[in-house]
Symmetry: none
Subunit: 407 residues, 2 copies
């Protein structure tokens, strides 16, 4: 229990965290960044009355994935809470992951059989078309539902990728995911047998071996995708919920499964709603406004366009969000935070290590330090450049949800 948890007190304030995924950028045109090019009068006006700064998701120079990026802004040190790849893949494909689950990434592969033993011919089954993947995975789902009381959940991803979750009847002890990858990392080799490093993991490995056997049986009629290679066995890390740590009834409003999954890992309720636009998200937010203390609203497309190198697209999403900002402000959150989970400069077509613009609005900010909400203006702000994991402390403080430390 850290000092913040000792200081938490409850009240009826509402905290809204808006994550514009991949928000920060670099100059793309006329020496200006996407945020500087966007016409966003509402955001700029709010920025003039807000606390500004930038946050560093993991550490200087470190480019975070979506998992660490979000954990940090939720208040969980991403260097301490490491989410396994299997878990992230499963969450990203919409599978739920609980305390009795083992999740793993899988690849369709092509094998030939020599003396009845599989030998890998293509580790990715020729980068199977996604449609093929869906058809084949549907067969797997229908034929493998349970193994010795362990329920099996399978979801197709892109191309040759899929995720598998093994759900045991009871919570699994820590270390139950210590199982080696079965991918031999080279063609011409036999897939490795999954083995557990300890008795709990070996029990899981036994189920996995049976799963591979059953899957091979189902897949033998396929020409290319006739085998499954498994990587990244992982279980849900022990994480205290935001309710336990910060006394917040928290919910998540997001379109993509990955972000819903990350939010559910820290105990947020995931709000279901129709549609996928920012407007639809804000409508959902309004609908549940009375039911929670903390709202995480996730906007994906800023990142998607950044990753495509489409800076005009990223500018447009920022402008779209700006046009809807009045709807958000009309809810009168006590504390409003607008930021990103990491930067995604269009020029890099990728996540990056650059500090992320951060805006916090509440009745208790200094404000008046900058002209608008951009990377360069945020540098002038009262928050400085801070680790992302500290954001929650500032949000709780601005909501007057932290007691004084010491007398």
């Amino acid at each position: 229990m850290d000092v913040i948890e000792e200081l938490v007190r409850k009240n009826d304030t509402k905290i809204l965290l808006v994550v514009l995924d991949g928000l920060g950028g670099l100059p793309v045109s006329e020496g200006k960044t996407e945020l500087e090019l966007a016409r966003k009068p509402n955001l700029d006006s709010l920025a003039r009355r807000s606390a500004l700064g930038l946050h560093i998701p993991v550490d200087w120079g470190i480019t975070p994935g979506s998992g660490p990026g979000h954990l940090g802004i939720f208040g969980y040190d991403p260097l301490k809470f490491r989410i396994g790849r299997g878990i992230l893949e499963a969450l990203g494909l919409g599978l739920e992951v609980g305390e009795s689950d083992i999740a793993v990434r899988a690849n369709y592969a092509t094998v030939r059989y020599e003396n009845g033993k599989p030998v890998v011919v293509d580790r990715r089954a020729g980068r199977l078309p996604t449609e093929e993947n869906r058809r084949i995975t549907q067969k797997l789902k229908e034929r493998i539902r349970e193994i010795n009381g362990v329920r099996v959940f399978i979801e197709p991803g892109m191309e040759h990728r899929l995720a598998v979750v093994f759900r045991f009847p009871e919570p699994l002890p820590e270390g139950s995911d210590r199982i080696n990858d079965t991918d031999p990392q080279a063609t011409g080799r036999e897939p490795l047998e999954p083995k557990g490093e300890n008795p709990n993991a070996e029990r899981v490995a036994g189920v996995v071996r049976k799963f591979i056997e059953l899957a091979s049986e189902v897949l033998k009629e396929e020409k290319r995708a006739n085998y499954l290679l498994l990587r990244g066995f992982s279980q849900k890390p022990k994480i205290k919920s935001m309710s336990e740590r910060f006394g917040l009834r928290a919910c998540c409003i997001a379109v993509y499964p990955m972000y819903k999954g990350l939010a559910s890992l820290v105990g947020m309720d995931v709000i279901e709603f129709e549609g996928s636009s920012i407007k639809d998200e804000i409508d959902a937010l309004s609908r549940v406004w009375d039911e929670y203390d903390y709202f995480f609203l996730h906007v994906k497309k800023t990142d998607s366009y950044g990753e495509d190198g489409n800076w005009e697209g990223k500018v447009r999403v920022i402008e779209e969000f700006d046009s809807l900002l009045p709807d958000i402000l009309s809810l009168s959150p006590d504390v409003l935070c607008i930021t990103g989970d990491h930067s995604t400069p269009s020029v890099l077509k990728n996540h990056s290590w650059h500090p992320v613009p951060l805006l916090i609005h509440s009745p208790y900010v200094l404000g008046g330090t900058a002209e608008g909400f951009t990377e360069r203006e945020c540098l002038k702000g009262e928050l400085g450049i801070i680790p992302s994991v500290k954001i929650i402390q500032l949000l709780l403080a601005n909501a007057l949800r932290l007691k004084k430390f010491g007398a």
Copy 2:
């Protein structure tokens, strides 16, 4: 021993730390903070020639009490050196606390007796008037001076509050304060018996039980305040003095007991002087100027007015200090630091988590970064936003009191 202690060297420079208690603020009028509203030509002129920045007392978002706030700027990490409530209460009421002492907060309470056993009727004895408290405490002081060789010191506080210090003949081992509160936290219950968690604490608890017995005897003639409830048993934490750590002969010039007490915890000499104005404090400073290396001068009223929500009062105290700044400068300190122990925005009527303006003047600063000494101007300064515990390092460095690290 941390790296700073390894690097310390002595010379004959003088370091002056002025703490304007609760200095930082938020906009109160015309969008301006108390510091921005104050007419303070001397401070602003000094700021233009000084290193500026802000400091964070404990951590982002954490509102410090006076104890943690001061420990930080003295160079003691407030998360590591936690001062017990009993100690702070005792210091605040002017009691000294040493290594052979156990301090505790006490409340006058009303009890009724059932079968000879006390049952709490009012945990605060009807919030006894302070005058009543003084009269009754005087009786306790006269009748309970010593218990089995342990000296007892009692001082009245406000309303029903008082502090008690038990002084043993020899220094107490760590953990001797592990004794439960006797306050049952509800009426209709019997007060709890104080018990020690370990043999050392149990020895102290034995004395405390005797004390409660004697006090009940003295108080039985009172109608309302006929019992004492005890909370927050604590002993002085093991703290190396500023002399041991930083090679500084340090002294404190303050009016209120709490700050003298905190200074004495880190080994400062407390200077006695007549009067209580800032001018009186500066006179005392001048008088002892030749005798010390490090001077802590504490100005209380900035915080008091902030806590009252009286921003005009806070502005006036800043202006009063400004008018006296030339007297301070005429002493020619080698390093002058002007800051607060925390912010106390008048709009919050309370201590707050906001970074605190920080000014360091020496021959070795860059300067020329800002127009004056305000929250917003300090954001432009060369010091950035730093943890308060680092201030001592900057003061020692500017005094050329730190050797080079490594070759």
